[in-house]
Subunit: 100 residues, 2 copies
């Protein structure tokens, strides 16, 4: 768990927004055909539509959050689904409380 990398990943309004949407996918995204929110999360295209950023930017941002360990991804067919890694947020919370 690289503190600096995580804080950099969190230093962007759009990325914070994405994380908050992914906290309650059923609230912020329409039904998905091929996969379950709970199991695998939300696909890139859905996230992109809400963001209002280009596909390439959103893909990169998701990569940044993934690399920092805050998201997990699953490829199913032509789609890549992203969901939060809740464990990472708990670990981060503890880190902020005890060692930061």
């Amino acid at each position: 768990m690289d503190q600096l990398e995580i804080f950099k990943a969190l230093s962007n309004k759009s990325r914070l927004q994405i994380l908050s949407w992914l906290k309650e996918p059923e609230k912020y995204f329409p039904e998905q055909e091929h996969a379950d929110f709970e199991k695998v999360g939300v696909c890139v295209g859905q996230i992109q539509q809400k963001c209002g950023l280009t596909q390439s930017t959103v893909s990169e941002y998701l990569g940044i959050l993934l690399k920092a360990g805050l998201l997990e991804s699953t490829r199913i067919g032509q789609w890549t689904y992203y969901k939060r890694n809740e464990k990472a947020f708990e670990t981060l919370s503890d880190l902020v409380k005890t060692t930061l």
Copy 2:
């Protein structure tokens, strides 16, 4: 408590380092003549020496951490002392756990 501002403040190796030093001033800084670590923290000059950055950079960095609410400052004579605002770290920890 502005999430984004806080995460930006934490997105820098030197600033993280400073925060960690200020967690245990007596361990990382020599005795101070004019003030108490517990009460007011450590003065800019001491912090600068450990950083190896210029005086202006360190002053700016402390300002960033102060503005984000992570530090508190006290002016005594010609010195400005900075110490951690532990309450802010607890609040941040909770925020990461519950709302982020």
